[in-house]
């Protein structure tokens, strides 16, 4: 990417964000929210979080290299720790440190 393409990409992210933050105030300051939009707002987040997890793991190769083992082990640790302590920061920190240790020293 060139510098101007980078600036455009960041500006689009900012614009998209601001659109989602400002739009309700511009549209729904009067009147009622359509039912379909209300439904999407409730149904989309869970689907998007699934997509984001898959997106993060998209470049993991199961057939070569470390066969996705560092990812699998670290995610298992995150899930276990999170179900036990329910502490977001602890789970994220432990999972990341575990992954870094695995890829740096073992795999």
């Amino acid at each position: 990417m060139t510098l101007s393409q980078e600036i455009i990409t960041i500006a689009i992210c900012a614009l998209g964000t601001m659109l989602t933050r400002f739009l309700p105030f511009l549209i729904f300051s009067k009147g009622k929210t359509p039912r379909y939009i209300q439904y999407l707002g409730k149904a989309l987040p869970a689907a998007i979080f699934s997509m984001l997890v898959v997106y993060c793991l998209k470049d993991v190769s199961l057939l070569s290299g470390s066969h996705g083992l560092p990812e699998l082990l670290s995610i298992a640790l995150i899930i276990g720790l999170h179900l036990w302590k329910r502490n977001m920061l602890l789970s994220i920190a432990a999972g990341t440190i575990c992954y870094m240790a695995l890829v740096q020293f073992i795999f």
């Binding site: 960041i10 989602t20 933050r21 689907a47 699934s50 997509m51 997106y55 993060c56 994220i92 870094m100």
Partner: protein, 236 residues
Amino acid sequence: MSRSTIIKRSFSAALPQTLPILTGFLFLGFSYGFYMRSLGFSFLYPMLMALTIFGGSLEFVAVSMLLGSFAPLQTFLMALMIQARHLFYGISMLEKYKNTGWKKIYLIFGMCDESFSINYSASIPQDADRGWFMFFVTLLNQFYWVAGATLGGIFGSIISINTEGLEFVMTALFVVIFLEQWLKEKRHITALIGLIASVFCLLGFGADSFLLPTMICILAGLTLFKKPIEKAGGLQ
């Protein structure tokens, strides 16, 4: 009570409410700045992105987008889909943000998950002003995030520890958010639609171009199964 006293009291009421966010945003912001730095970006990138986008999940995803090929439409749709939840924060805050004067613009600009949650739920002391209280909550939260991202970006260039694998902080963040959402739901139809659509499209379209088809499949899936999803009552 004078205007400056009211502003001071609003600040004193807002500050303690934001302390959990101070910890979280410094850590995640630092990881984010450090992460960008480790990929060769100057600290100016995380700093300016924290200032202008101010949405953690999207900022992390934007890094992958900056490293990929230029795809403005996909970037825009991704930004809209990741940030779509703000639409509904906005709807919830229509009343609360009324009569806050010039501060309203900034309150909406800085309405991240955390600022929304505090401003929506906090009980504000009698001697404080609602508008100023919400303004300081939003401002402090953004300050933590920008400070963390900037420090991470600068620190990452000075210290020379091996950062291999640090990018996993992004995966860890989304796994935890996914898990939190999963634990909160009674039914998992929507999460499964997202999962099936993503995996299917990843296998079908490949790692570089599966996002757009995935988004379309998710929208189609949620629209097709609207009745059973609503009937199952798995939505919050």
